[in-house]
């Protein structure tokens, strides 16, 4: 397996062999997930500002942006973990067959989480309970969600662990998380997330805590397993090169606003929003996770500026950028929110 060389990877339409080819959109065109006008206010600050996107069944979507752009917040909202303490979540999240779930009661979410929507967390070593064995953590959802008996759950758990490439699966069941390497921990997380065949898999920076050499393996595993189950997948990423290789569509977020969205080969090959361009520039020129070349600091939520959030850091900003929020309109195969886009 050839490791993915992220340092030089260009946003391109051709996919390295390591990922086993791009996943073509599934036959169905009706969306599995539709997010509209999703906003979240916490105190004075607006964390999410009218976020909207949709996801087809079997497709892969990437949420892109700097840390603090609201990517992980969206993921948490999609699995119903941003509800009670965080008042001020508005908009709709329509999950196929369930209707709008944004205001669904905890009881309804208990039937969705882990069954229809599952999540893989950023740092598997922190997302696995250190006090329980791998076996217990993978078998509990099997028994509680799928209602399997003890021995059936055990057999299924071993199958799952083997399917995510864990060798010596039976003996891994009695191991504790800290006894596994980071890559193996993430494989276990994937196995747990896939255990109940969810329709939608959320992967929140699934490889950022891992060694570069394992990143491609893990991404490939997630893509293969979701494709096998014809499930949809949402990747939360800050790495555009990775996104261009594993996502059908991308949503670029800045300060809780969608700035550009569309098919990844269109958006990432020829960005029209200055922010997407800058993000791409970072990957290519500096190969860092931070956006150092951008002027001034991280996006501030304190000011509820009426205009584009990126205006004060944008080299192409016009007077009206700070005053009026640009609408998200279809332009050249994508949707774009910018008053002064790149040609």
């Amino acid at each position: 397996m050839k490791p993915l060389d992220l340092g030089t990877a260009r946003a391109s339409t051709t996919l390295p062999a390591a990922l086993g080819g791009r996943i073509e959109p599934a036959a169905g065109t009706e969306p599995l997930l539709k997010v509209e006008g999703l906003s979240l206010t916490r105190g004075e600050s607006l964390i999410l500002d009218e976020v909207a996107f949709s996801l087809r069944r079997g497709a892969t979507l990437g949420l892109l942006g700097e840390s603090g752009a609201g990517k992980s917040t969206i993921a948490l909202a999609l699995i119903g973990l941003l509800r009670k303490p965080e008042v001020g979540l508005s908009g709709t999240i329509t999950l196929d067959g369930e209707g709008d779930v944004v205001d669904a009661p905890e009881k309804a979410w208990l039937k969705l989480r882990g069954r229809r929507v599952a999540m893989i967390f950023q740092d598997a070593s922190a997302a696995l309970n250190p006090c329980f064995t791998i076996g217990r953590q993978i078998m509990t959802p099997l028994r509680r969600v799928l209602g399997l008996g003890r021995s059936a759950a055990r057999v299924r758990a071993i199958e799952l662990l083997e399917s995510v490439g864990l060798n010596d699966a039976p003996s891994r069941l009695s191991a504790y998380p800290h006894q596994l390497s980071g890559g193996m921990q993430q494989r276990v997380m994937i196995a747990i997330a896939l255990s109940s065949n969810p329709d939608l898999l959320l992967a929140d920076e699934p490889t950022s805590a891992l060694d570069v050499t394992i990143q491609a393996q893990i991404i490939r595993l997630i893509l293969e397993e979701t494709r096998r189950r014809s499930a949809s997948c949402i990747f939360v990423l800050h790495d555009l090169a990775l996104a261009s290789q594993c996502c059908d569509d991308v949503v670029v977020l800045y300060g809780g606003q969608v700035v550009e969205t569309g098919p990844s080969r269109i958006v990432l090959d020829a960005p029209m929003h200055p922010y997407t361009q800058a993000l791409k520039g970072c990957v290519l020129e500096f190969d860092t996770e931070e956006l150092e070349p951008l002027p001034s600091g991280a996006p501030s939520f304190a000011s509820k500026s009426p205009g584009c959030r990126f205006a004060d850091r944008c080299a192409r900003a016009l007077d009206k950028c700070a005053a009026t929020k640009p609408p998200l309109v279809a332009t050249r195969g994508r949707k774009l929110a910018c008053w002064n886009p790149l040609p």
Partner: protein, 315 residues
């Protein structure tokens, strides 16, 4: 694992040895000549030297210490000057069970009530419950237990006449009488611990509930009660047990005061009376018993760590 345990046990024995040496030195520093006290009116220089030889007090300090240690380990703790009874008999056989019963019931009470209260406060942060809990932990950890005991006597013993206010009845002899005699002392002793456990449970649980594995458990569709009571509590067991071990000293010294408030014939009352009667041998016995209890408990806590937190187990 075995090596770890052996090392811990060895270290514990070492500390006990030092405690015994210190307390032996203490005994030697005590004013008053034990031989004169023992001889009383039968004092004569000949009798003095012969008794001195007989007791081995003419030998070197180290030799005396080793002899004392030998007899201490074999349960020969000498005889009380006042009651003429063997010290081991009434210290370990009679007084210790009283203290242990009191301490154990106070501990049980505070864990059984404290953990749920702490969970309630942690899961409903900022609520009226949480505010009430924080006022309670503040007062509970600093309220003088002996005064609380007197307040309880006044309220439940005198005003309502619900519980006896003095004396000890062994629960294994007469269960209900034992329980009713233990109720007020156990509440008195438990308040500090209860407040401590509530505070620790709340603080640690709040921290644990912010961990990614809690969100991950929720994301797997585990219901809220399982997330808190299974995933959450399992992870605060270790700090909770640690604090219990460290605070055992507070429990023991609280027991001394509580025993005096409620006239319970335990180790605390034994030591207090011994100080008043200038019976250094009994003070020393009390010191050794307390130290043994404290050190053994902390040894057990240390040895329990790998079971409480799998990350501490060897790979």
């Amino acid at each position: 694992m075995l090596l770890f345990a052996a090392g811990k046990i060895l270290q514990t024995l070492m500390v006990l040895l030092i405690v015994s040496a210190v307390s032996f030195t203490l005994l030697k520093l005590a004013p008053g000549d034990p031989i004169q006290i023992m001889l009383g009116t039968e004092y004569s220089p000949e009798a003095y030297t012969s008794l001195m030889k007989q007791l081995g007090l003419d030998r070197s300090m180290i030799e005396q210490y080793l002899r004392w240690l030998g007899s201490f380990v074999t349960g020969d703790w000498g005889v009380s000057y006042v009651s003429k009874a063997p010290i081991f008999q009434f210290a370990v056989v009679e007084a210790l069970p009283v203290t242990l019963t009191l301490a154990a019931s106070a501990l049980a009470l505070s864990v059984l009530i404290g953990v749920p209260l702490g969970v309630l406060a942690a899961t409903r942060r900022g609520s009226i419950w949480d505010a009430a809990t924080s006022v309670f932990t503040l007062t509970g950890t600093s309220f003088p237990s002996f005064y609380l005991g007197i307040l309880l006597i006044w309220l439940f013993g005198v005003k309502f006449g619900l519980f006896p206010t003095m004396g000890f009845v062994a629960p294994w002899e007469d269960f209900w009488a034992g329980v009713s005699h233990l109720t007020l002392p156990a509440i008195t002793l438990s308040i500090y611990f209860l407040a401590m456990i509530v505070r620790m449970t709340r603080a640690n649980l709040i921290e644990v509930l912010e961990q990614p594995y809690i969100a991950a458990a929720r994301a797997r569709g585990e219901p809220n009660w399982r997330v808190v009571w299974v995933h959450g509590l399992r992870n605060i067991l270790m700090p909770l047990v640690t604090i219990l071990g460290l605070q055992l000293g507070a429990l023991l010294q609280g027991a001394v005061l509580t025993e005096t408030v409620f006239s319970l014939p335990g180790v605390g009352q034994m030591i207090t009376n011994a100080v008043l009667n200038r019976e250094y041998g009994i003070v020393q016995a009390g010191v050794m018993i307390t130290a043994c209890l404290f050190i053994t408990t902390n040894l057990i806590v240390d040895l329990a760590y790998p079971y409480l937190d799998p990350r501490l187990r060897p790979r």
